[in-house]
């Protein structure tokens, strides 16, 4: 068994010398690490032939903080706030992933109320994340107005979070044994108001941007990802679903109270940028449906089943749990030694990492300007890639 490992320097050699004096020469262009499209610090090396992209070499690691290594010296409760800082637009879901694996390992029971609140918060954040993504995509593709509209809705949902959780971005809300606070007395009313407000807003988004000819032309049939390729690359979330594979952990794995609600998995027909765009638009509608089904019937019960200062004992073994974040499957792989509270190694399976590498399969053959649309439709969050 041999594995070829090529360093970046070897990758950056021109593949051939031009045979004909008039033949075009390949050249490399750096995108990033400081580039407005990267939404963070991501370096992409493009091998170009004229305007056509031959190869994309992602060079991640500009925000690598060593979170997984740090977690080996932290207790489960202390790990939870660090997961906020991976994919910060899906903070609740990341909290939930590590909480699930700890709860599985330690055998902590949770109740209906806790699970309902967790589900509600996750779905609200999915709407928020997609709204933000929609605005930023609009900005990347040249429509600044979309940015203003997307962030307007983000603020509205942020206010709900602020009231119940006390933070706008880094939540640390879903914790082993329950949730940090009970929901605020205003929560139910406020969520209902916001959901009633959001429903026409998404149609408004369609009017504003989806029907725009520029967006259509820049997205339609650009960057087609076949379902086989998407599965082979390990893409998850809207990127995989846009390729037509209805893989949604909310249906596949039994967690939260997703089995009690009625919602559809949104899939695309072709797998191009337009499908990846519209899958998220439709997912916002489905998330609103989920929230509306759950908000009226939050069961009674305690919101924390575990005393805070007690250590969480995890017996020896390996544990893996995953949840569906706004960008795909976020998993936590934990090995407990049984000696202390701290995990021995902890590995995060981040959706953005796999989605990033799909750009190597997507980009070749397209123009440089299409890379913008492709990257934008992948909805990458860089700290989640680098961890």
């Amino acid at each position: 068994m041999t594995v070829t490992i090529r360093t970046l320097n070897e990758l950056l050699q021109p593949s051939h010398l031009p045979a004909h004096p008039l033949a075009t020469q390949e050249y490399f262009v750096n995108m990033g690490p400081q580039h407005p499209i990267s939404h963070g610090s991501l370096r992409l090396v493009l091998r170009l032939d004229g305007e056509t992209v031959k190869e994309v070499i992602p060079v991640p690691g500009f925000v690598h903080r060593g979170v997984e290594k740090m977690c080996e010296s932290l207790t489960p409760r202390q790990i939870v706030p660090y997961t906020d800082r991976l994919d910060y637009l899906s903070a609740f879901m990341n909290n939930w992933a590590i909480t699930r694996v700890v709860e599985t390992a330690a055998g902590i029971e949770s109740n209906e109320r806790i699970e309902t609140i967790r589900t509600l918060m996750s779905e609200l954040q999915r709407i928020q994340s997609h709204a933000l993504w929609w605005g930023v995509t609009g900005m990347d593709l040249g429509a600044f107005t979309a940015f203003l509209y997307g962030f307007r809705e983000r603020e509205v949902i942020s206010e709900i979070f602020e009231e119940t959780v006390g933070a706008r971005l880094t939540m640390n809300y879903i914790q082993p044994g329950g949730v940090m606070y009970d929901i605020h007395p205003n929560f139910v009313k406020r969520v209902k108001d916001v959901m009633a407000y959001m429903k026409p807003i998404i149609d408004e988004y369609d009017t504003l941007l989806s029907g725009n000819v520029i967006l259509q032309e820049r997205c339609r049939n650009i960057g087609i990802l076949s379902p086989e390729k998407a599965i082979a690359l390990g893409c998850t979330g809207p990127v995989l679903r846009a390729s037509g594979v209805p893989y949604d952990l909310r249906k596949m794995e039994n967690y939260g109270v997703y089995n009690k609600v009625d919602f559809n998995v949104v899939v695309g027909a072709v797998g191009d940028c337009w499908d990846r765009y519209y899958v998220r638009m439709q997912e916002m509608r489905e998330s609103i449906r989920i929230v509306e089904q759950l908000i009226d019937s939050i069961p009674e019960g305690p919101t924390m089943t575990l005393r805070y200062n007690l250590p969480i004992e995890m017996p020896e073994g390996t544990y893996y749990s995953q949840v569906e974040t706004a960008r795909g499957v976020f998993g936590a792989f934990l090995v407990a030694e049984g000696k202390s509270e701290k995990p021995y190694p902890l590995h995060f399976r981040s959706p953005n990492y796999n989605n990033l590498w799909s750009v190597t399969a997507l980009a070749p053959g397209w123009r440089v300007a299409d890379i913008i649309a492709i990257l934008s439709s992948l909805d990458l969050v860089i700290p989640d890639i680098d961890r």
Binding site: Q34, H64, M70
Partner: protein
């Protein structure tokens, strides 16, 4: 809403030929700089969402401070908002970006990661513990992430610093309102209170009260009332 309520300084520096214009020029230039900061879109992590995106959007409107022209190119920017963690791989790049910026250039470090390494201060092998280990930082805005309002407060502090800051004739010598080492007999609480007092005095004006003193105030009020009642 210029937020400049100071009167022009009437200090005449005496030397042959007179110097009233030059001193006023300093002031005018510094005011212009303070009120037209062009930030660089340099966000590495979560703070970028709050500091550079949310502030630029409608709810918190960065353009009220004249700083909405976010530039992707360092050559056109004069304010670097370090929003997020700086790791060892990124640090040389950040230094390079900073050096490419034209003088005068200002740096705000927002969020715990940029101020001190923050959540990753201990146990992490790759973080730079504070952006000021790489480049000089003018204003620190703590929080994880700070709210957009907290960032505005930091921006106002920076504007304050620029306004009474360096002279055009002697560039590079920047006077921070708070000295690095505290003078004798002064506590840090005094310093904080002073910053607070100064900023409030300069930058907080009651819009409605100001507007009422203007002759066109009634008309505008009427118009706002009409237009909001339509919807």
């Amino acid at each position: 809403m210029g937020l400049i309520t100071e009167t022009l300084p009437a200090v005449i520096e005496k030397f042959p030929g007179g110097s009233l214009i030059v001193t006023s020029m300093d002031y005018a230039i510094n005011c212009s700089r303070a009120n037209s900061l062009w930030p660089l879109t340099f966000g590495t992590k979560c703070c970028a969402i709050e500091m550079l995106m949310a502030t630029g959007a409608a709810h918190q409107d960065l353009s009220r401070f004249g700083a909405e022209v976010a530039r992707a190119s360092v050559r056109q920017a004069d304010l670097m908002v370090i929003a997020g963690a700086i790791v060892k791989k990124m640090a040389p790049r950040m230094r390079m970006l900073y050096e490419q910026m034209a003088e005068p250039r200002y740096v705000i470090a927002t969020g715990a990661c940029a101020v001190s390494g923050g959540p990753f201060m201990y146990n992490s092998y790759s973080i730079v513990r504070g952006a000021d280990e790489v480049i000089p930082v003018d204003v620190y805005v703590p929080g994880c992430p700070p709210r957009p309002e907290a960032f505005f407060w930091g921006l106002l502090a920076l504007q304050k610093m620029i306004k009474e800051g360096e002279s055009v004739r002697r560039p590079g010598i920047r006077r921070k309102p708070v000295m690095a080492a505290l003078p004798n007999g002064m506590t840090a609480a005094d310093v904080r209170a002073e910053i607070q007092r100064e900023l409030e005095q300069d930058n907080v004006i009651d819009v409605e009260k100001e507007a009422e003193s203007k002759p066109w105030a009634a008309k505008v009020k009427e118009w706002i009332r009409k237009s909001s009642s339509i919807s």
